[in-house]
Amino acid sequence: MTATVDNTGTPAAPPVETVTLTIDEVEVTVPKGTLIIRAAEQVGIQIPRFCDHPLLEPAGACRQCLVEVAMPDREGNVRPMPKPQASCTMTVTPGMVVKTQRTSPVADKAQQGVMELLLMNHPLDCPVCDKGGECPLQNQAMTNGRADSRFEDVKRTFPKPIAVSTEILLDRERCVLCQRCTRFSEEIAGDAFIALQERGAHQQIGRFDETVLDFAPPPSGPAETTAGVAAASTTGQPFSSYFSGNTVQICPVGALTGAAYRFRSRPFDLVSTPGVSEHDSCGSAIRVDHRRGVVLRRLSGEDPAVNEEWITDKDRFAFTWQAAPDRLTTPLVRDRRYDEDGNVVARGELRPASWVEAFELAAEGLAAARAAGGVGVLPGGRLTVEDAFAWSRFARTVLGTDDVDQRARVGSAEETAFLGHAVAGTGVGVTFGDVEAAPAVLLAGLEAEEEAGVTYLRLRKGVRKHGQRVWSVAPFASRGLARLDGTLLPAAPGTEAEWLGILATRADGGLVPADADAAALGAVADALAAPGALILVGERLASSPGAFAVALRLAAATGARVAWIPRRAGERGGVEAGLLPGLLPGGRPLTDPAARAEVAAAWGVDADALPTAPGRDAAEILDALSVGQLGGALVGGVELADLPDPAHARRALAGAGFVVSLEVRRSEVTDLADVVLPVAPPVERAGSYWNWEGRVRAFGQALDSAALPDHRVLDALADRAGVDLGAATPLDAHRAIAALPAWAGARLRAPEGEAVEPPEVPPGSAVLASWHLLLDDGALQDGEQFLAGTAKRPVARMSAATAAAVDVYDGDRVTVSTDRGSVTVPVAVTEMVDHVVWLPLASRGCRVHDALGAAAGDLVRIAPAAEPAGTTDGQGGAA
């Protein structure tokens, strides 16, 4: 499983040009272009700094890092520069002689002087400041400052704090105006929601705030929130950045604080555990800080290869779900009454039970269900790799079934074939580094900012630093794409394959349709043919017939590499583990006898014991349950509302003969289950995710807990059935995974498919486009109201023509409906493909699957909202 072969075939990098200089009498050789402050770090000399940050452009604003510099002149005589220089802005030159505060009284005095000036207007409220104890200002004041201040005059004060959003608070008097936050917002995130304002000692960070700027308020009263941007914060101002929490972390003082953590803890009381974010497939390194068994905050970890030092606000702030009041703490069982023939006549209430009883009932029930047609397995997409392998093995050995599908979303057989052919068992393929360095990237069915935030930041870095060009096949150019300077290849949902196909044809030198813009097509095709070019595909393509197949054809035609970037943290690991019908671990086709033999040997079972025919996928499992073809179901972390047809899923599980649920919290599934086995959330267990790169992202257990991870529960359950799952401990689970060698045999056949003709759109209807927003109504964001306040307001997007055709206009409320139900939200007229309406997939008041029973690509009706505007703001829902 640690197949980290670099199959990129990158040629060896040219030798790095270096520069040799002297710092504090120590000679150091560093790459050309290195800043003095970085070169000093190489020899262990720390120069104090505030505005400097290795991932931000130099600013030279705080002047804390002043050093003495001498340089050789043309004759080679080393001449000192007349003034101390900011080491964070000056690059090294050959023969340079640098004296830091350690060897230069001038530099030392300069630094002490600047420190005194910084502290002069600082409140020195360290005892009540969140940053106290981990504060660069506090620490460096101790190491590089004067023992006391000579300032006895009046300090500048500000009313405190300003809420720049519901999530981020600003105490202006603590700010040292280093501009890290504004530079991050502008350079890294591209969300310049805060800026410097005023000047001199009154200079401050802020967003546009009439009371601070002393502007007259607009005559119409508070500004209307623009549709489609974030919900209004408590201040009535819109705010939108998915990365704002990073500003809190890089603030070198306590000026920016998170609302949830403010005044909650002292850093020295916290116990820190490195972790990996469970919120997306990027595998971002995080740090989990807890005190007495309660997680108080999460920070970004440092991993240059993956997330650098940035995480999304969801990674940072959405952790309360793991300790929500509806956590399951004991197993639950449901008593049943049977008639003489053994048929269930009544299902009782769930009641707490001992593990022994619950295991016994579950094992019996599953065995009976297996006998009564089989058990469908829906593990969900958030499993660790250890869990995923245990689920896969449990399904194939204990339950003897291949009816297993991790996808709690729209999936397709074409996607299964794509994953088995091009993803499973391929090890580390495209990396974050490749994403940054790629000269050209084509996004297909992937809204990177919403679905893989850290990946989005890498794309932005590529665009900013390396001139990367980005194209996106999507119905409209999102704000995220605009910040990538990206180009939209407009496609109605379901027709993505058309673009990919034309591009592939163009790259192969074939004839493109006469109505296509040949020059534009050529530009994309040529760019994708450049070495290092990438095609990034998202899970949304599963709803677009032919898209995966044609994406592979495009890759073959251009030489660009393909990476699949799903949303959920467990999906790539699940693909490796074989949590898809027809796919055994490591990319082995189930139908391949050699593959079955290898797996059986590793699992210590008879090869004949494994299923031989590909099983049902999620939709088929639910169908089979609802008609009684399957006897029962084993369900993991699945929210029924996430499934393409939640009502059908509810009926299927309610009518199922026997349902076992492994869950962290009470859910719709646990309410329908016969046995509920509580499992541990990520913070209470160790494990590892495979991120979309294929990189192993292991994390440790942060909190002491009696809760069991899935693999231990399944191991114990298997034990009842007399099967050894080899997953009793994390180490065992690891070893069981490693026991399988890399698969060298044939892979699943590449998916076949072509673009299909888009459906006729009758008047009053439109094709539904939809995807998840980063911040929405997801169960993993429960309990975090400050974060929820920064989520985007749900809107329906449609082109002016589409809107006008049904007589709605920008800002009007529109009702999107199917025979199943309707959603009513404001309209945001957007430059986009005609006859398409976009809705956020699972935002509050806009649960598309649940309310409409429809998915992207389906036809929906659109009409002006019946009720007067503003009565049920954002509260549309199932009719």
Binding site: G60, P84, V114, L117, L118, V154, L177, G200, A201
Partner: protein, 444 residues
């Protein structure tokens, strides 16, 4: 006695001197006609040969600055005229643009031709609305007469001129802050390198010159480099405007060759205020260290003023007589720097805020024994530590006044108050404001 040869001020007393007709009547635009018949490179060489140095204060050779532009690459190059004159005491560009704006416009046309610029900008201080309007009218007149626009004077050379009004910030006189402001951003100095010659306005090669420098170009081109370099001293050549203000009988603009002395200028200006003696003065605006009567005979050229411990700066001679409290004067200048600090870097932002409070305390009689040394040390912590030269400038009046008048500071501390009557130094009837005891200190 130095001969005065009015050049830029020659027509200031003409009827409607600001009109194009008055300028043309005095031989205006001969320089442009001559320039358009020359090679651009020769023009740059002429200005180099003339010895013209930047009149905005730093005194950098103008021709050399033009020569720093990289070779043309087909993209745009810009000339930006810094007309954001806002240093306390400095008042030469604004009268020049009021009285004879065509000097500047012709200079812009010649300079643009010389450096290959087709779009020049004038960044005018926003508060001087009357100057902004006059300049707009002058540019329009020049367009109408064919000196600007498409195919200037039939030469095939195109030039557009945009006059831009700033929003009133001292920092925007700093050339890179000016460029940011002109681009529509917050006016704060940029990190250098890259220098404006390489990546200036809109990241294109840009020359930023002071109004008076550009206005001097037509004369140099029309009359020759030798004519210009014949004036002044060996290293400070040519003419310059000397702005006399304060306790002087006839304040105003005096155009003279560089190297003239204050004694000569005072003779021209009718001497100090009747019955009073010169106490101290600034040679080049408030950011230049103070001089006293000992420096009456110092030649006002870059080298001599520098050797005497100050800077020629913008030749803004603010004269203060014996009725003036130096602490009061310096504290008012420091108020200015505290108000105008852009806030980007710590030493200037926080340092001026602190200096201001200490100076006010001393002036109001609440100074402490250690305050004088504190002021000196604070200045030491600002000078050479700030991001741009404005922080350095803020320390000059403080440091130099303490060097020259430490006893007076001490007297404020020992006597718990100011020994001067502010009314005596006023040029008009004036009732001093009672400063409330630092209430809301730090407020501007």
């Amino acid at each position: 006695m130095t001969d005065l040869l009015p050049v830029l001020t020659d027509t200031w007393d003409a009827e409607r001197s600001w009109k194009l007709a008055a300028y043309e009547a005095a031989g205006g635009y001969a320089g442009l006609r001559k320039a358009l018949a020359s090679e651009p490179g020769d023009l740059v060489q002429t200005v180099k040969d003339s010895g013209l140095r930047g009149r905005g204060g730093a005194g950098f050779p103008t021709g050399m600055k033009w020569g720093f532009l990289p070779p043309p690459d087909g993209g745009p190059r810009y000339l930006v005229v810094n007309a954001d004159e806002s240093e306390p005491g400095t008042c030469k560009d604004i009268p020049l643009m009021m009285a004879s704006p065509q000097h500047l416009v012709e200079g812009i046309a010649i300079t643009s031709y010389a450096i290959g610029c087709h779009h020049a900008f004038v960044y005018v201080r926003g508060e001087v609305l009357h100057v902004y309007r006059r300049l707009l009218a002058a540019v329009q007149e020049a367009y109408d007469a064919g000196y600007l626009g498409k195919d200037v004077l039939g030469s095939g050379f195109d030039l557009d001129v945009t006059v831009h009004a700033g929003a009133g910030a001292y920092i925007c006189g700093e050339e890179t802050a000016l460029l940011d402001s002109l681009e529509g951003k917050r006016g704060q100095p940029r990190l250098k390198p890259p220098f404006p010659a390489v990546a200036g306005l809109y990241a294109r090669p840009t020359v930023v010159n002071n109004v008076e420098s550009i206005a001097s170009v037509p004369g140099i081109v029309a009359r020759g480099a030798d004519w210009f370099s014949g004036m002044g001293t060996e290293k400070s050549q040519g003419h310059g405007l000397f702005s006399l203000s304060g306790h002087v009988t006839r304040p105003g603009q005096y155009e003279a060759p560089l190297g003239i002395t204050l004694r000569e200028l005072l003779d021209l200006a009718g001497g100090m205020r009747a019955g009073h003696e010169l106490k101290f003065w600034t040679p080049g605006g408030s950011s230049t260290p103070l001089f006293t009567a000992d420096h009456l005979d110092t030649p006002l050229d870059y080298e001599s003023v520098g050797a005497a411990g100050s800077m020629l700066g913008t030749r803004a001679l603010q004269l203060f007589d014996d009725t003036t409290c130096v602490v009061r004067a310096v504290s008012r200048w420091t108020d200015f720097y505290a108000h105008e600090s852009c806030g980007k870097c710590t030493p200037c932002r926080e340092g001026t805020y602190w200096l201001k409070q200490v100076l006010h305390r001393i002036e109001e009689g609440r100074g402490e024994e250690r305050d004088i040394d504190l002021l000196l040390d604070l200045c030491d912590n600002i000078l050479g530590r700030a991001f741009c030269a404005l922080g350095d400038g803020a320390t000059s009046p403080v440091t130099s006044s303490i060097q020259l008048f430490r006893d007076e500071y001490q007297a404020h501390i020992d006597g718990h108050g100011c020994p001067f009557d502010p009314r005596a130094s006023a040029l008009f009837p004036y009732t001093p404001k009672q400063t409330p005891a630092l209430a809301g200190a730090g407020g501007h």
